[in-house]
């Protein structure tokens, strides 16, 4: 099989070694990209992210990537958003009031409740739904203080297939539509589970 080339967005706020290693392990060639043309051109794109919502969002804006990212997600081109990269697809986050996300999902990330250990740090069960083709069932590694609890505030967003986890209540572990996937967890740190997910995405 010809190796896939996967573009990984590098905006300076995320550590990318784990993502890079996970992709190379699946025989991908990895190229780091940081400009709109490369984001628009890439056959396959990973939008990683750790750190703060506002910093990551500003980095995306400063590099002029927002339209290119939004366009490829809306057009259904192969895109994988991880952790903060997933949350950036939403309308915003309580973590940074007033800082808009890409708005592909009409939902806002909220902090876990006071009754929970925060951050959520560890392995949680992911339960896909009928429409899930890429997100498997099993345990995945999470490290997050904020999460989305629904796909949309209204009735839009119905064409996304959710996968759910529970941490003091149900939250969105992942969502997918065709070859666009957002994961709150880190597939690149989720052992064999994560390899399965990434391999399915590469084959999608």
């Amino acid at each position: 099989m010809r190796p896939s080339v996967v573009a990984v967005v590098r905006t300076g706020t995320a550590n990318l070694a784990s993502v890079e290693t996970a992709l190379r392990r699946l025989r991908c060639e990895v190229e780091f990209v940081a400009d709109a043309d490369a984001v628009a051109r890439a056959d396959r794109l990973v939008l990683p992210g750790v750190g703060a919502f506002a910093a990551a969002r500003h980095a995306v804006a400063a590099s002029g990537l927002e339209d290119a990212l939004r366009d490829r997600i809306v057009q259904g081109r192969p895109t994988l958003g991880v952790c903060l990269g997933m949350q950036l697809m939403a309308r915003g986050s309580e973590e940074a009031p007033g800082v808009p996300g890409l708005g592909v999902l009409d939902a806002v990330a909220e902090r876990f409740g006071d009754g929970q250990r925060v951050p959520q740090m560890g392995w949680n069960r992911v339960v896909p739904t009928d429409g899930s083709r890429i997100v498997p069932e099993g345990f995945a590694y999470f490290a997050n203080s904020y999460r989305l609890t629904r796909l949309a505030t209204g009735d839009r967003g119905g064409d996304w297939s959710p996968a759910w986890s529970d941490y003091g209540g149900r939250f969105l572990a992942a969502f997918e539509r065709g070859t666009v996937v957002g994961c709150q967890f880190h597939p690149e740190l989720s052992g064999a589970y994560g390899r399965t997910l990434i391999a399915r995405w590469l084959a999608s």
């Binding site: 290693t21 560890g122 392995w123 941490y167 003091g168 064999a192």
Partner: protein
């Protein structure tokens, strides 16, 4: 404080104490003995079901410090579960280099005690989920005030007089995402974790706690979980093959501790 629950399976975390690129393990931080290649050990532990791996690099020489980044790179290449790296993180830039080399979380100890502002700087730059405060604590004895535990720095050699529980609370306030709590008194003794220390820190912080120092058996780990640990760290019981991670998890499950199922029990299959 209100009861805080995690709801997640307890993490079993093998720890690799590394010096000059090789895994060593001290008894009470002394008598370091060679245990092998860090990347090979890390890969073996992942295969056995380790939920993450911690690398604590105690290299003190300039050569050793240069080797540290190579160690992180080779362990990262061999590992597809989370990797926490500690040792020599004195500045934001040190953390940045470790993260670029492949660490997912960085742990800082002595430097944070010397300059607590480091913790909030790290959290602001990398996010709470990336920042671990490593606290080495020792009982103060009968004369001790406060919690009865004080912070010890410089690989367990220097007592500070700082209250360990208050320090944990302050670190959580500064934005760290996890406390790696080591009992210096228990480390290497095989007598089990210091449960009183765990209970006291548990009552003071709502971030996850990794229990460390003294584990020799599944019963010790189950006790730590009941005392409030979210993760249990051990070194020599794995390095010297007294337990595999898999066997240990089975024993924990038999004691009513929820752990992540081994891959064979999952309903999906690898490609």
């Amino acid at each position: 404080m209100a009861r805080v629950v995690t709801g997640l399976p307890v993490r079993v975390v093998p720890c690799l104490d590394v010096r000059n690129g090789r895994v060593v393990k001290g008894v009470a931080f002394q008598e370091l003995r060679d245990q092998g290649d860090p990347a090979a050990l890390a890969a073996a532990y992942e295969e056995q079901g380790a939920d993450e791996v911690v690398v604590l690099d105690v290299s003190a020489t300039p050569d050793g410090r240069r080797t540290r980044l190579d160690t992180v790179r080779t362990v990262r290449a061999a590992l597809s579960v989370p990797l926490t790296v500690g040792g020599g993180v004195g500045r934001v830039e040190d953390a940045s280099l470790l993260l670029e080399a492949g660490a997912d979380k960085v742990a800082t100890n002595t430097a944070a005690v010397r300059r607590p502002g480091l913790l909030s700087e790290l959290a602001a730059r990398f996010g709470a989920q990336c920042v671990v405060v490593a606290i080495d604590a020792a009982a103060t004895g009968e004369t001790g005030a406060g919690s009865g535990y004080e912070v010890v720095v410089r690989s367990g050699t220097e007592r500070t007089g700082i209250d360990a529980v208050a320090w944990a609370a302050r670190a959580a306030e500064a934005g760290v995402g996890e406390v790696l709590l080591t009992s210096v008194d228990r480390d290497g003794t095989k007598q089990g974790y210091d449960l009183e220390l765990l209970r006291r820190v548990r009552a003071a912080v709502s971030v996850p706690i990794v229990a460390s120092g003294g584990a020799e058996s599944p019963e010790h780990m189950a006790e730590a979980v009941r005392a409030g640990a979210d993760a249990v760290l051990a070194a020599s019981i794995f390095h010297q093959a007294r337990w595999t991670v898999e066997g240990l998890k089975e024993a924990l499950r038999a004691r009513g501790v929820r752990v992540r199922p081994h891959r064979a029990e999952n309903s999906w299959s690898a490609p």
